[in-house]
Amino acid sequence: MAGALIVVDRVSKRYTTRSGVVEALRDVSLGVSEGEFCTIIGPSGCGKSTLLAMIGGLATPDDGHISVDGAAVDGPDPTRVATVFQDPGLFPWRTALENVEFGLELQGTPRAERRRIASDLLGPLGLRPFAAKYPRELSGGMRQRVAIARALALDTKIVLMDEPFGALDEQTRVLMGEWLLEIWRRTRKTVIFVTHSLQEAVSLSTRVAVMTARPGRVKLVLDLPMDYPRAIESPEIVALRAKLWGEIREESLRAIAEST
């Protein structure tokens, strides 16, 4: 873990709700090295998103600490970390292009330059014809691609993705995954990707961290050294998928038992 780009060190997080204190995460440790595509998978409510929010500086751990690129995280730092959320969260009054420019605008990048950067990003994403469209005129998949372009525009080393394809239909999900893989292989960013989907986990990641039911802990971490693109029917991938499902099934059953 030493020397990792992102270090999560014995982090715990509790929430106070009306029905009492909920322990979201307990003693979570995880290291992610530069250039990795690390997937976090686990049952609903296991604190995956909370963990991601803390790495992104949007939430603070109660115990333990998190550092990114050698510096402790104390708030969002868009020069190091860009985030993509499940809800694309596009600004409805901005065109696709203007949405992509948002982060650069906040950083004071001159208008002409940020326009150039945003346009260059839209091209490979198949969004060039839609640059002047508003989010309401775009499909769900296109919106999420704009949200990803908005994150990539910051050109950070690290991109956090919180179930970015969770709201899309399965076909679109698969295509978006292929497309994301291509971008990642070209840019070699460090990605932490939260998902519910075993398929996404096995086809995209260099590593998978499986989390337990609440309070979330890291149950196991698997390395996936296979080449890309991965044939989802290959025996290796099928076996891996079955193994992951075995682990997650156990936790999901616990999560369901506890919530009823």
Partner: protein
């Protein structure tokens, strides 16, 4: 085209019905269009009321001052109550309760306090315009998606940039709607105030004509007022549509 024709048909029918009804009533109390039209011409040529422009300016000035105050106070108080939860919980219900009281009950005390001159009309116009603006700000703040605010934070926005680049645009539609309603109510407040008691302004002329049973003049002045109000509201609606297209 057909819509315009149907609309015109209704207007024609109403004018004819008015003409018919008025001819058979007491001529002191009702004026048919055939009598109002010449009166309107005399009003517009400044024949019957040579001081009409001055009175209109008085009214316009009262509306402008009352509206400017209503906008400033409405935005300030709306944002204060909407952005600071404790303040909102403390004062929100009081505001809602006051809004439920028909504002006209305050007018006598405003006249006693501010006198018969412009101040009491400005105060009343302000009172009417203030509430819809404040409430629109509160409703608008509630409409801002927390997700967009989180996105702004993640991309490094300070509270001020979040306010300017996210909150204000996200609530623009509701806000502009409230500003438009506020303007309409301020105009009503000022003119009602003038009619209820004043020495100048278009409302005082209306009250004067009506008090002296100069019914045709009265109707002509009302028509002039109506056209001015409809024109100002049309302008406001144009602005509103702009904002709607932009923010939706």
């Amino acid at each position: 085209m057909t819509v315009a024709a149907i609309r015109l048909a209704l207007v024609l029918a109403l004018v004819l019905a008015w003409e018919g009804a008025a001819r058979f009533s007491n001529p002191l109390l009702s004026a048919p269009p055939s009598v109002v039209l010449p009166a309107l011409v005399r009003v517009l040529t400044l024949d019957s009321y040579p001081e009409l422009p001055r009175h209109l300016l008085v009214t316009a000035r009262e509306i402008a001052i009352a509206y400017a105050m209503a906008v400033l106070a409405g935005l300030a108080i709306g944002f204060a109550l909407g952005l600071y939860r404790t303040l909102g919980r403390a004062y929100g219900p009081i505001l809602a309760a006051l809004y439920a009281v028909p504002a006209v009950v305050w007018y006598p005390s405003l006249m006693l306090f501010f006198g018969l001159d412009s101040s009491s009309k400005i105060a009343f116009g302000f009172l009417l315009g203030f509430f819809p603006i404040t409430l629109a700000v509160l409703a608008g703040i509630r409409q801002v998606s927390p997700q967009l605010v989180t996105v702004a934070r993640a991309f490094g926005a300070t509270p001020l940039t979040t306010f300017v680049k996210v909150m204000v645009p996200a609530m623009m539609f509701t806000l502009v709607g409230g500003l438009r309603t506020g303007l309409a109510l301020t105009v009503i407040g000022v003119i009602v105030g003038e009619i209820l008691g004043s020495r100048q302004g278009i409302g005082s002329l209306i009250n004067h004509a009506y008090g002296l049973l100069r019914t045709a003049d009265y109707v002509a002045l009302v028509l002039v007022t109506l056209v001015l109000i409809v024109a100002s509201d049309a302008l406001a609606s144009l602005v509103e549509h702009r904002a709607q297209r932009w923010s939706e």
